[in-house]
Amino acid sequence: MRSPMPGLRYATAALLLSAGICAAPALAQESSDPIKLTLHDWTGQLITTELMGEVLKKAGYSVEYVQADYLAQFAGLETGDLHVAMEMWETTGRDAMDASTATGKTEVFGPTGMKAKEEWWYPAYMKEKCPGLPNWEALKDEACAEAFSTAETAPKGRYLGGPVTWGGFDDERVEALNLPFEVIHAGTDAALFAELESAYQRQAPILLWIYAPHWAPAKYEGEWVEFPEFTKECYTDPAWGSNPDALYDCGKPFGEIWKVGWVGVKDKWPGAYKAVRAFTVDNSEMGKMITQVDLEGKSVSEVVQAWMAENEARWSEWIKK
């Protein structure tokens, strides 16, 4: 800001100074337009986004939440209609994210600090029927596979995979590891968890794709299947792993959850850009908050406010000039 009269400049400086003390340093060169953060339809993402939004508000920015589909939002981020998406999972959103950043209109704002875990999962009561679990080799046993079977798949076991759109290479994994299982794809994750809830109520067999951070591992007692740990080579070099002729003879990747956004954020709201980049939380914190919302019935805002009160030192660091 340039002012012709020196007196006024002092006044401005004083004003800015006092504004800084009030912890609301809205800088003059930053746009006062609202920053649009996208909301999706799972609780963890709502919490992450509202956390970021509240922090930005403390820094004096105007914030607007827009409901948008997880993948369809890229159209909006590229045109600058939307600005920041707080959770883009390495495991499910990588392709769309790469395609979008390749246009040069969006950029990755760094990791959120949370790690996406996705793997085959079974309820604890299935251990009786299949005692070798969680080691994956137990699934090779025919009796064990049969315990997971249904009329359509018998004698093979039934594994409920994620929606086709998630990828995940489960058909290939079954082939490569020579597992006597048939992969059935759920269409949405709501369907995935509806089946889990149904089976859990009846204490019936089920083996399915679960991801974390999510409320399911907190609500239902169970374990991840332990496959040979994922490495990059496993997905690119057939020689790697127990099957020398096939890729995917290992577990699923364990990846970052990224923040992405419109490339113009940097210039339009430099301070907010820094804050978004600085934002991190970890899995256990997030898991706790998701549980509070989904299982204990608290509202997202309540949980977010509680976190803000407890972690003031952390978030004020993000918005420090």
Partner: protein, 677 residues
Amino acid sequence: MASPAPTIGAGSSRLRRMGLATGTGTLVAWVVALLAFGIVWQTAELYASWAQEYPKTWMVPAARWVSAFMKWLVNEASFGLFTFTDLTRFLAALVDTPYTAARSLLSSGLLSGRGSSATQVLPPLSWIAVVGVVSLLGLYAGGVKLALLAGGCFLLLAVFGQWDSAMVTLASILVAVPIGVMGGLLIGIAAYRWPRFEEAITPLLDLMQTIPVFAYLVPILVLFGFGPTAAVIATLIYAMPPMVRITTLSLRGVAQEIIDLGRMIGCTRRQMTWRVLVPSARESLMVGVNQVIMLSLNMVIIASMIGAGGLGFDVLAALRRLQIGAGLEAGLAIVALAVALDRLSQGFARKLSQRSPASEQRGLVARHPFTLAALVLILATGLVGLAVPAVQAYPPALEISTGTFWEEGVKWININFFDTLEALKNAVLLNMLVPFKRFLGELPWLGVVGLLAFLGWRLGGWRLAMLAGVLSALIAATGQWEKAMITVYLCGVSAVAAALIGIPIGIAAAERDRLWRWVQVVSDTLQTLPSFVYLMPAVMLFRVGDFTAMIAVVAYSLVPAVRYTALGLQKVDAGLIEAGRAMGCTRWQLLTKIKLKLALPEILLGINQTIMFALSMLVITALVGTRDLGQEVYIALTKADTGRGIVAGLAVAFIAIIADRLISAGAMRAKRRMGLV
């Protein structure tokens, strides 16, 4: 309706004509066609694999072309002074203005500033004011009964804690419906005036109605921006076509005498349209309005995925947490909105058709009692609301909820009856669905294309044969054959099941007034309750897969089968029934030999609509893991692959158009044979 006595003679001769046997020529042609099909099928596998499975090298890369075209449209297309994107953004801004106004009025209040720094200058309408205004509208349009119904529906929204979301949804409906109605009316009038124009837009309307919304969601987002505006525009594309069609149809239905009268008194063209034609057709035009309202509410879920928020978002979010009860409550709120708006629009339609005598000159209060009452109510509750919060917003302490009742219910069924249901499902799946799917999958594409063309030729001549043949061949040429067959299988089985359930219900309800009223309530609910609400419990009881998808499709596509059957039976000429009685028919004979035969064209139309509805559910079935064209569209959406989505969407539209044209031609022939045309 004609009086029964004099038509008995004519009736009985018409009855005799209906029993006419089909000619032997038809039979021969059919035998030849089926033989040819059989030969293609049996020999293709051995000698000509290109007739069995469409060769990869012949594929038309349509998806790539569409994507390239979209890229050009978004980035380069220009009209000289402004680009195509500028134009669409301008249109979006046009829609955005009334939307912001409606939203301020109903939900957010008048704001100054934007985003979180905005402050409320004026509060939105209080809940009491909205319920009151809706009741007044009901009172004006249809008396106390309608007032209670409409007001009651809105009161339910408040009591069940759905108020805020419902007002957001209502705001977008209030914008989409008038634009859809006006736009549809104008296009319809243009089509009525210029037959050329009608010919040009008819295929376009077909495509708008049958291409799944997911297929064009990505281009819409890019062109119109992300948010409620894009949602309104997607809603318009889907909900406007029926208005256009009904406008053209009802203008054509205006009696010649009225038009002559208009000419005689020297109307200009404009006066003719707006003072003569439109007012005389207003009753049927209201049917179009009603369709626009229903279809707009149908889009609520999809609209919420691209930023419209409101009830659709609540449904999705609740079901992702498996809170069936919460999802159902939000879903029923959509139904309540639909019922209130639908009954109000019907009330206005009746009011308009029995117009009150020309306005007499009286005092202001006497002339506008309802408007004044509404204004007083809004002002009074607004002022009181500033002091008493319970008047402004419904007190949360008084909200009720079904809580975990529904979850417990599903859990109880799940624990006690899962095995029975599983056995039932397996029986249907293994004995009916899977064999049929396999059968369709094995058919040679060339044979199917040929058979469809032959069917088109028999039913409607060479033009229909060309249409059926070319469209089905295009599906094969773009590499969609296998998925298209799965689509035909799923929708075919579901449409048959829906017809088998729906037609008997329609027959039973046609002559029983009380039952008919109940059936209508259930039909409205099935049509507007988002299928996601019952899809998730269905997944819990039947697992993911084709069977669950079928349940959802049948539940939704049942409605037209019921409605059209009942309407067809109710319209049967009383004279013919009387004639049948005079000839000594039993009740059963009356039904099967006369009523059902005469209602056949309507029933066929109902089946036609059932198929259309079934196809429109494809996108939803993709959510429970089917592998059909719906899934293809959905995958394309998640990968933001415009070309792939549009091509798969077009394949769905082609299936719909082929089915529609063949069935319509069949209905036309049936009508002609019975001497109804």
